[in-house]
Symmetry: C2
Subunit: 360 residues, 2 copies
């Protein structure tokens, strides 16, 4: 019998939990029959619901969690009071080696804080980052940090670039990814010391990819670089500006097609093509932000997503496991910091051994 | 005879200068017959070109400038070496009171540095900011700072809010504008001390408008607030992400209409409606970023714009003059800092008196 990959799910996290978590996991079990689930949450609510998902019923085990991390809970409060929360217990399953990864659609700040506290960062990584995939005219690119670190120093930015590059190489299959730092064009403005220092480091030290320089936020969408790195405040704002603009354009598009009889007829003809476009840029396809730099695989689903989106977040986690993502980061870190292979990679924790175990 | 409003133009600034500057000024003279122009630039190039613009020929005077500030020149170099540049001489015309405002499509960093150096900031404003107009589902909103200050403290952010609010009140005609600070949702992340301090100040002190709290970058596009304030690094990145996403969506739209015969037929029917949409969200309509907080009116046109866009930047400058923008900022600053009217407004410079003189 094929050894199962076990995924820990925070069944209570997100706007429409636990329903979309169960429905998403059901869809994921169809896509990944080798996967088993640990569902962390309120037993009394989960047991009757599970009856509606025949596949999941066979592949999932419910683990009772008496508490829930709410959407507005501060990370510090989640750390103090969330010991019995579904989110924390799901993360702990990765730490103990029971699960290969954890997926949650709950409170992002709390998830990051708990994952960092429980799993710890990879040796050689000072701070974890959150990364996301963004569609471009050429395909897709990796943007990070999209919200974990409001302020970053040069070394942080370089480490983010390294992790983003490994992601582009492994999961996106880009052999020699182009790496860039987000800047605002003008070279001599204040506050860019960290950026310039990071640029210098990326040119000096071995990177898994090639550094192409500074890019501006509009270049993200043209795919000028496969990986664009920035601090979490700017990255989060840029990501939300992109989401907001897509929505605004969708709104204008709807208005336009409804604005005249001719336009309405035009829509009837073009309907099929627009259905394909909608599918192409479906935000659910890009659901699943990776928490990179932890000793274990943790993926954050959008809080407002549906079952489809949640199942995609599970696929993102599966990809990170399949490609031994964390092991490859260890190798690249060793090369980057010029220590012989294995030296930086001290004591791989049970967590990350488990996370990459099934594909090793 | 009606007293003319004199506008100083940097005829050599921008990707397509001096042609689009002359063509744009010609269009503007049609729209604003009361305007006269001072064209700063290379006399030998400008004189023969001017022959093609009959209106402008009557309303413009050429002022020779032997130098040009190039697009890649650092602000510090522009300050040291740009004494005889078209940009600096145009700004000086505002300082001496010869012109009511200056418009340039040249190097943004250099324009800001020169304008700040020559015109000085308004008393009570520590740093000038650049603001831009953005289309929303509800109309349009003001975003600032979009690039002048990479790092801002709480007091800077509050002053930006005040200036943005005066702009929304006067130029956009919104009686009681809603004011917001850009944040990334999570309340307890590092690096937000300045934002929280700014929020507190905006609730304590009199503001020309009402403070509605933190918004995220996607809220910019839904028009959740009339004025959204952030630092220049984030603001510039958000603005460019919005521009980039609009372009990407346009690209996808084109692809979609070309993707099948039905879609092509659909486009023929919907063509008129899409022409109206293109007009509605035409970036040229939103051309003209305001340099707020200076003792004089200075407007920056996009470097790559065409004559249409440049003429809109001139209109933006005309609006700032017409509504006595700088005088109103003085009044609101006095109210904000609790000094009796006129006290903060010490020694109004010749420049700003001239800038608002024609409407006073």
């Amino acid at each position: 019998m094929q050894p199962k990959t076990i995924i820990a799910l925070d069944a209570m996290g997100g706007d429409h939990a636990p329903l979309i978590v169960l429905a998403g996991a059901e869809m994921a079990s169809l896509r990944h029959p080798e996967v088993g689930f640990l569902l962390f949450g309120d037993e009394a609510r989960l047991i009757p619901l599970l009856a509606d998902y025949p596949r999941l019923q066979k592949s999932a085990i419910i683990r009772h969690a008496s508490d829930v991390i709410t959407g507005d809970m501060k990370p510090s409060v989640a750390l103090r009071q969330g010991r019995n929360s579904s989110m924390r217990l799901a993360i702990q399953a990765v730490e103990t080696g029971e699960a290969a990864c954890v997926v949650s659609a709950g409170n992002t700040g709390a998830f990051m804080a708990l994952a960092k506290f429980v799993l710890k960062t990879l040796p050689g990584i000072d701070r974890p980052a959150i990364s996301g995939l963004i569609p471009t005219t050429k395909g897709e690119m990796v943007l990070l940090d999209i919200g974990a670190n409001v302020e970053c120093d040069a070394e942080n930015l370089v480490q983010f670039s390294l992790m983003g590059a490994v992601f582009a190489k492994t999961v996106l299959g880009i052999e020699n990814p182009s790496l860039a730092l987000l800047n605002i064009g003008s070279e001599e403005m204040k506050g860019h010391d960290e950026l310039r220092a990071a640029a210098a480091l990326m040119q000096e030290r071995p990177m898994p990819g090639h550094y192409v320089g500074f890019v501006e936020a509009n270049d993200i969408l043209t795919g000028k670089a496969d990986v664009v790195v920035t601090d979490g405040f700017t990255g989060n704002s840029v990501l939300k500006a992109i989401e907001g603009t897509s929505k605004l354009m969708g709104h204008f598009l709807k208005q336009t097609f409804a604005s005249s009889l001719f336009a309405k007829i035009g829509y009837l003809f073009a309907k099929g093509a627009f259905a394909r476009l909608r599918h192409q840029i479906d935000p659910r396809k890009y659901n699943g932000a990776m928490l990179l730099g932890l000793q274990g695989v943790a993926v954050k689903s959008h809080g407002g997503t549906d079952a489809d989106g949640f199942s995609n977040a599970i696929s993102v986690a599966m990809n990170l496991i399949k490609y031994n993502f964390n092991d490859r980061i260890r190798v690249e870190l060793a090369r980057h910091y010029g220590v012989s292979d294995g030296q930086v990679i001290d004591q791989p924790a049970a967590a990350s051994a488990a996370a990459s175990g099934d594909a090793a």
